[in-house]
């Protein structure tokens, strides 16, 4: 038992010593010019000390080495108990400046934190299986440098410095502004935290694993409304219930899929043994339903497809603001009501990731609409080689 204890203790101390020497994962320490000078000075003084056997030089050498040790200790203390949290406020839209915030907190009791910088990166995020690691030396058939260069060119990087000290128990907020270049899933991450503190001998950088994947909505695009393009009022006394209606109740109607449950008139429904909902005077009847199709056969030019997606996003937001957006659908997917902001945002999130789909083997079935409703359905077609037009009931209502 004693032998095992002894060997365990030796193993423990060996691990501790190795941990002090071997750099930790994601950590990097590089000497700066001052650090190189200090190391050179130490080597020079050490050589002179051994050459001359002068204890004065040994003292100077010991002091220099002690300063290096102190630098490491202070650098470690500086980063200790510093917490950070990455916050990104959606929505992000392509081509529009967005910001992310880093909330910092110094958990130490009486030591402040100085001179930190934070490295951010924002780049496209692609979900795929993790590939095996490649090396530029042994890579076969893969142009690794080209891949790295491509990633670098698509990525935005920035560094934000903590300009003031972070007091013990104090908090700070750092903002980094960036502009997503295009729609899609964007990965924003805090790549690393660095510091030259305390003496600027060593550049200490610690990597972090903090990131957020955020959808970037399509960029807004300018379009023109065309005369005669206003949506037709649907026939019948169909009214569309929307949440947050105003005005007096003017009628009751049967429940249709997508109607809000808050509008259900329970007494009347119990009497009639059928769900009935309340209709108000201010309900809009010029509603429109957007149906976007992504046939690759139709959208042969990628830039035209992107323009179409941007137009869909812009029009859907305009219609929603005007209270006229009824529902949305993409290809043969289910129609989704757009009653609340969350519905619109969800649609825009889907638009952020939509891609051209291969042409269907059978013609598309339009999304199912309530049988008693004939909505204005807006679709989109290429116009020329560069433009996109929005069509409602066969009439061009808007175009880029």
């Amino acid at each position: 038992m004693n032998q095992a204890d002894g060997s365990n203790r030796r193993l423990f101390w060996r691990r501790v010593l190795w941990g002090l020497v071997w750099p930790r994962r994601f950590e990097r320490i590089q000497p700066t010019i001052s650090g190189v000078v200090l190391i050179g000075l130490s080597l020079g003084i050490g050589t002179a000390a051994y050459n001359s056997a002068s204890n004065i030089l040994f003292i100077a050498l010991a002091l220099l080495l002690a300063c290096l040790i102190l630098s490491g200790v202070l650098a470690w203390l500086n980063l200790r108990k510093v917490e950070w949290k990455l916050e990104v406020e959606p929505p992000l839209q392509a081509g529009q400046e967005a910001g992310l915030s880093l909330l910092l907190r110094n958990g130490k009791k009486f030591l402040p934190t100085y001179a930190l910088w934070f490295e951010f990166a924002a780049g496209p995020f692609e979900r795929r299986e993790p590939s095996r690691p490649e090396s530029t030396i042994t890579a076969k058939g893969i142009d690794v440098w080209a891949a790295l260069s491509k990633v670098k060119s698509e990525e935005q990087r920035g560094t934000v410095h903590l300009r003031t000290r972070l007091d013990p128990g104090g908090e700070a907020r750092l903002d980094w502004m960036f502009t997503p270049p295009r729609r899609g899933l964007l990965k924003v991450e805090l790549r690393g935290v660095g510091s030259l503190f305390p003496f600027g001998f060593l550049r200490k950088q610690a990597g972090t694993d903090i990131f957020r994947v955020i959808p970037v909505w399509p960029a807004p695009v300018e379009y023109r409304r065309l005369a005669g393009g206003s949506p037709r009022r649907p026939e019948g006394d169909h009214r569309l219930a929307r949440v947050g209606n105003e005005g007096e109740m003017i009628a009751l109607r049967h429940y249709e899929v997508g109607d809000s449950h808050r509008l259900v008139h329970w007494k009347a429904s119990a009497r009639k043994r059928r769900l009935l909902i309340r209709q108000f005077s201010s309900q809009n009847s010029d509603a429109c339903s957007i149906w976007m199709r992504t046939d690759a056969a139709v959208w042969t030019r990628p830039e035209q497809f992107e323009l179409m997606v941007s137009l869909v996003a812009t029009i859907s937001q305009d219609l929603f603001r005007a209270g006229r957006l009824h529902s949305t659908a993409i290809d043969s997917g289910a129609r989704v009501a757009a009653k609340r902001l969350a519905d619109l945002e969800s649609f825009l999130d889907r638009l952020a990731q939509v891609r051209t789909a291969p042409a269907p083997t059978a013609p598309y079935a339009p999304p199912a609409y309530p049988t008693r409703t004939r909505l204005n359905v807006m679709t989109f077609e290429p116009e020329g080689t560069r433009g996109v037009a929005a069509i409602v009931n066969g009439i061009k209502t808007a175009a880029t």
């Binding site: 010019i33 001052s34 000078v37 000075l41 003084i45 002179a48 051994y50 050459n51 001359s52 056997a53 002068s54 204890n55 004065i56 030089l57 040994f58 003292i59 100077a60 050498l61 010991a62 002091l63 080495l65 002690a66 300063c67 040790i69 102190l70 200790v73 202070l74 009486f110 030591l111 402040p112 100085y114 001179a115 930190l116 910088w117 560094t159 410095h161 903590l162 300009r163 003031t164 000290r165 007091d167 128990g169 030259l196 503190f197 305390p198 003496f199 600027g200 001998f201």
Partner: protein, 729 residues
């Protein structure tokens, strides 16, 4: 209202950086003054320039641009000319360093320039330390390290405040914003205001940690014995500041005695061997010519050829017979001849030295005067030094008249002078069969009777040798005249004799336990040859009988008479500690230190085990003792008390930690509570005090500010009360 802690703004950071850089430069330039390389004037000019620029940081903007352009070429040209003229590399490099520091001191600095001044300053301090081995080096390097680290930290923080960009260097001729309105007093007030005692204590603790770690590293760095040492001393030439050369004119030794600075210190491993009146021999001067004594060429040849060695073997009694080890720390500028008491068994240096020595004459001479403190250890040395065995001279004395070098009998004087000496000898009387010591006693008595002692002797004018004229007169004289006269009289009587110069006596440092010998202890005496014993006998014409008895004393009685407990002894003990533990620290010392640490650790473990076992035994004996009522009651109460305390701690009613966790024990909350009870303050201040008393810590305003305002409010309300009571009365 939550007040944010104060911080220095960017301008104040730059001002502080300027201040620290200037202090660094001043500190390092000051070392040149005790390097003794003849650059004191230049150092003064540089100091003045740096000081002026430091105090008025707007002035460097007035340096014309052409001066900046010409600065480096001029400095390089100066260096080249300096080397050409003086031929000494190290002093030229030091002067180059001074010029570079001056230039940096009168220019606005970027980060790399701050680094330059750190490196340049460190060079000066280290060179001064290596050359002088002075204790002051320790203080200087520590202060320098603290200032340099603070400067570099400030530079890092300032850069961070500027968003990671290096501060833009001011355009030449333009005053940067931080330098245009510097108020140093205001800056110090600001520093005082924002200083936090905890941060300062942490900084001080860290600095102490650096010193301790550097001390441990110093002891732990492995030492190897390499040849080719003392490289820096080759690049600088220093003359001995004292007159201990191999020829003296009368008055040289007396001049040395005017200087009270320390010549050397001596450690003795066995204080029981410490003599009361040691005579530290340095040089034997056997040839008298042209009114002065010198080391003759023949005797010089006895020193043998120069060797490079770290160990010299002598003919002394041997380490076994006199186990004491004497360690000498000879200051620079004393002499290249090493002071020792007499014959020795072995003399060792820390590293190999170029020496010439004569074990018979007990003379050891280095090749050059050492530019720094020189340490050496002597073993097997007789502590009284009354007799010096000289086997070589004994052989020549036995073969005298046949062949061989001069026998230290003759002197190069005129017949008239020789006759005058003979007349004086006649007054003393010739040597008898009792031996040369008896003759020497008569000569010394005669000299003391006829000549009083004086440090300012008057040698009568006239023809002939000056020493002979003095001997024939009744004028007072100093030790050289007495010794010289003794030698001439002994030689005239046919007894070989020579003059010895060195030091006599010294003091015993009560704090560090070592001899301290000053230049004022310089002395000259004589030695005469005792053919029967084949030894040189020490004869000091100025030593009275009591002093002769004193010279026989050893040990505690001897030390008691020499004890020095003055302030200078206290300061000198620091220097001796420096020499012992730092400068003289070598491989052996390292091994001894590790051994001592190991022994101390082992001993402390043994002591602890012994203490524990003894305590256990006592407890056992106590338990076995007779149990009576009072004993049972005591045990019961003790157990109850212990259990009660444990219960209180376990239930949290009693906290052991001195750091307050709860609200009641927090010192800030306690003080806030006291102020709330005492003062009648404005609502804002009361609210802040209440926040400190009851609020959560993150919402606290700065306690020191609040308490300061509370104190002011208390004193103003006291004044109001006094004023109102005076009005009513």
């Amino acid at each position: 209202m939550e007040s944010r802690p104060q911080r220095l703004n960017l301008d104040e950071l730059h001002q502080l950086r300027w201040l620290l850089g200037g202090l660094l430069m001043l500190l390092s330039v000051a070392t040149v003054f005790y390097l003794d390389i003849g650059s004191e004037l230049m150092a003064s000019v540089v100091l003045l320039g740096i000081l002026v620029a430091l105090v008025a940081p707007a002035l460097p903007a007035r340096v014309p641009i052409w001066a900046h352009r010409l600065a480096f070429p001029a400095i390089v040209a100066f260096f080249a000319v300096d080397i050409r003229i003086t031929g000494q590399l190290l002093p030229a490099i030091v002067r180059l360093d001074l010029l570079l520091l001056l230039y940096r001191g009168v220019c606005y600095r970027a980060r790399r320039d701050d680094l330059q001044i750190v490196v340049l300053g460190l060079f000066l301090i280290v060179v001064a330390g290596v050359l002088t081995v002075s204790l002051l080096f320790a203080a200087q390097i520590l202060v320098f390290t603290g200032c340099a680290l603070s400067l570099l930290m400030l530079v890092t923080i300032a850069e961070s405040n500027e968003g990671g960009q290096a501060p833009k260097l001011a355009v030449k001729g333009v005053v940067p914003p931080w330098a245009s309105h510097v108020d140093w007093r205001k800056l110090f007030h600001r520093l005082w205001d924002i200083s936090d005692w905890r941060l300062l204590a942490s900084a001080a603790g860290l600095f102490v940690g650096v010193v301790v770690v550097s001390g441990l590293l110093f002891m732990a760095i492995p030492r190897f014995q390499l040849e080719n040492s003392l490289f820096l001393e080759r690049f600088i030439t220093k003359r001995a500041m004292t007159g201990f050369n191999d020829s003296i004119k009368f008055g040289d030794i007396t001049e040395i005695t005017q200087d009270d600075s320390i010549a050397f210190d001596v450690d003795l491993s066995d204080p029981a061997q410490a003599p009361a009146l040691p005579y530290w021999r340095m040089i034997v001067l056997d040839e008298y010519k042209n009114g002065g004594f010198k080391l003759s060429a023949a005797l010089r040849s006895e020193l043998g050829r120069e060797r490079t060695t770290a160990n010299i073997l002598g003919i002394g009694p041997g380490a076994g017979r006199t186990p004491a080890t004497w360690t000498f720390y000879l200051e620079s500028g004393v002499s290249r001849y090493l002071p020792i008491l007499g014959n020795f068994w072995a003399l060792r240096f820390r590293e190999a030295q170029n020496v010439r020595y004569s074990p018979d004459m007990a003379i050891v001479a280095l090749r050059d005067e050492p530019a720094a403190m020189t340490a050496y250890r002597v073993e097997g040395m007789a502590s009284d030094g009354i007799e010096i065995r000289d086997r070589a001279f004994a052989v020549r004395w036995r073969k005298r008249g046949l062949v061989g070098p001069p026998l230290q009998i003759g002197f190069d004087l005129s017949e008239g002078d020789k006759a005058a000496i003979a007349r004086i000898d006649a007054a003393v009387g010739p040597p008898t069969s009792k031996g040369p010591q008896e003759f020497a006693d008569r000569v010394m008595t005669y000299l003391r009777r006829t000549h009083p002692y004086s440090l300012s002797p008057q040698i009568p004018e006239g023809p002939g040798d000056p020493l002979v004229r003095w001997m024939a007169s009744g004028e007072p004289g100093h030790c050289e005249l007495f010794a010289g006269a003794f030698v001439l009289m002994a030689r005239s009587a046919g007894i070989p004799a020579h003059v010895v110069t060195g030091f006599k006596g010294g003091t015993w440092n009560a704090y560090s336990g070592n001899y301290t010998i000053r230049n004022s202890d310089a002395h000259a005496w004589a030695e005469i040859w005792d053919g029967a014993r084949e030894t040189w006998l020490r004869e000091d014409p100025l030593a009275v009988a009591a002093a002769s008895d004193l010279s026989q004393q050893k040990g505690d009685a001897a030390i008691a008479g020499l004890m020095d407990r003055s302030w200078s002894a206290r300061l000198n003990s620091l220097r001796v500690f420096w020499y012992r533990r730092i400068v003289n620290f070598d491989q052996q010392s390292q091994a001894d230190t590790f051994k001592a640490v190991k022994e101390a650790t082992g001993n402390s473990g043994k002591w602890l085990r012994t203490a524990v076992s003894e305590a256990a035994h006592r407890a056992k004996v106590w338990f076995k003792g007779p149990w009576n009522g009072p004993r049972i009651a005591r045990v019961f109460l003790a157990c109850a008390g212990a259990l009660g305390a444990l219960w209180l701690i376990a239930t949290g009613r009693l906290r052991l930690s001195p750091v307050a966790v709860g609200r009641r024990t927090d010192p800030v909350r306690r003080e806030a509570g006291r102020w709330l009870k005492r003062i009648d303050a404005p609502d804002g201040l009361v609210a802040e005090l209440q926040r400190l008393r009851y609020g959560p810590v993150p919402t606290w305003p700065r306690p020191s500010d609040v308490f300061r305002r509370a104190r002011r409010a208390a004193s103003s309300s006291r004044r109001r009360r006094r004023a109102s009571s005076r009005n009513t009365s």
